[in-house]
Symmetry: C2
Subunit: 267 residues, 2 copies
């Protein structure tokens, strides 16, 4: 995040960080937050069990003044079922962090814990943006594009989608690409099994038609350029800035990519 | 292929090879066939334009006796629309090769050309196996399994599937794994966005239920062990021998894998 973005209504932005989540939490999370805090004028709230967090921050000469510790007595584990955990653990670190955003004590939440729980807690605590039917997980991936990054969504939040969901993902993804990655009027591709407009399963064919109609009908109001169908390879080649697909396909895409990288690195 | 498999009804098996297809045909195809023929007692039919093939084989001291050249005056290009090409090019190399199998002058066909055309030509010339509703493309991938290979299907033949199609793919894939790769009673996984049985899109959830019911109801007759849901990473890890998915997802999976490999190799 740039220095320009670090104030909200002329006060420093505050990031609520779920310090207990993740495979290496809280140690690595605390280390990351302290590193970030030293180079930033934002504020950070480390949310979790104070004893564990003090022990971790104690390893540093001093905790920066812009890092506070916020009490949360419970933890949602990686193996917890998301909606059950939300009900049974109202004082979990990720829930407390989300509540800080809801109550405007923080401006954003960061968690590297249970993805399903992060989604369920966000949905149930913060709700959805008006006009957006279903959530999506946006994943910025390294690519050969001019900006070096291509955003894939949905990476797993909504496994069964209709064309309207994918249209909303395209709008959200392109706003993210412009606001966060600085890409003006991003190029959006629809993930398919071939570039030709006739390619795709039923969902992709119907979505392609919707995207074309909408791009023509409300041309001046669409925040992106529709680049048509793209293939799996195009994501890493960076042919487009944003790639849209349903959450099932996006999840398979990501895990296949991780699998290949893992295999090649092991050789 | 092993020596045991190289005779059919006590005569040498014959492979019809589409010599004109592929990005590097006919040169690389001819070279590959001659290499194979020198170490095999099978017969090979190089199907294509004789002048081009003689020029390529002429680069060798002598064409092995078990390699014959079969005339085909046309070529289906990579850019041709498959079913249109099948109608307009009845003397294309891939069509002539398929016809040799149909007329029992050959036992199998090999082509590295236009995949859609290979599928259309096979379907329209050879037809489907009795009891199989839709075709699938099986792709053996390198994996960490005991046999070093995991077969993914469908990699792109049938983009919209129902649970019954996926069941047939599982049966075909496991027979392939046993007959060709020598894996007795292969373990079959269903590609999903998580291992738990509740994970998946609508298709995967319904397919998971069908697989479980069928495995219990006709236990002794199922040619594979159903291992439940697997994730994209499991393909390369080799957790199972065969991975089943619809042709849209399989195609995205393969192209994502190629994209990552391409990116890493370029670094």
């Amino acid at each position: 995040m740039t220095a320009q973005a670090s104030t909200i209504n002329s006060r420093p932005a505050c990031i609520a960080v779920d310090a207990m989540g993740g495979d290496h939490g809280p140690g690595e999370v605390v280390r990351g937050v302290i590193e970030a805090a030293r180079h930033s004028d934002m504020r950070f709230a480390l949310v979790g069990e104070p004893a564990a967090l003090e022990a971790e921050t104690g390893a540093y000469v001093s905790r920066p003044a812009n890092v506070e510790i916020v009490l949360a007595t419970q933890v949602i584990e990686m193996t917890d079922q998301p909606t059950v955990a939300f009900k049974k653990k109202p004082d979990a670190s990720v829930v407390v962090a989300a509540r800080m955003v809801k109550e405007k004590r923080a401006d954003a939440i960061v968690t590297i814990g249970n993805t399903g729980a992060a989604m369920a807690v966000s949905l149930l605590t913060l709700g959805r943006i008006k006009g957006i039917d279903r959530p999506a997980i946006a994943t910025p991936l390294p690519s050969g594009s001019a900006h070096g990054t291509t955003v894939l969504l949905d990476a797993g939040a909504t496994v069964d989608c209709d064309p309207n969901n994918l249209w909303e993902f395209a709008v959200m993804g392109s706003i993210y690409a412009e606001a966060v990655l600085g890409i003006p009027k991003p190029r959006v591709g629809l993930l398919s099994n071939g570039e030709e407009s006739g390619k795709g399963n039923e969902l992709v064919k119907r979505t392609h038609a919707l995207f074309q109609q909408a791009s023509e009908a409300i041309d001046g109001q669409v925040p992106f350029d529709f680049a048509g169908n793209v293939e799996g390879r195009d994501v890493f080649r960076g042919t487009v800035d944003v790639v849209v697909c349903d959450g099932f396909v996006g999840n398979v895409f990501l895990k296949a990519s991780e699998g290949v990288a893992e295999m090649i690195m092991d050789c």
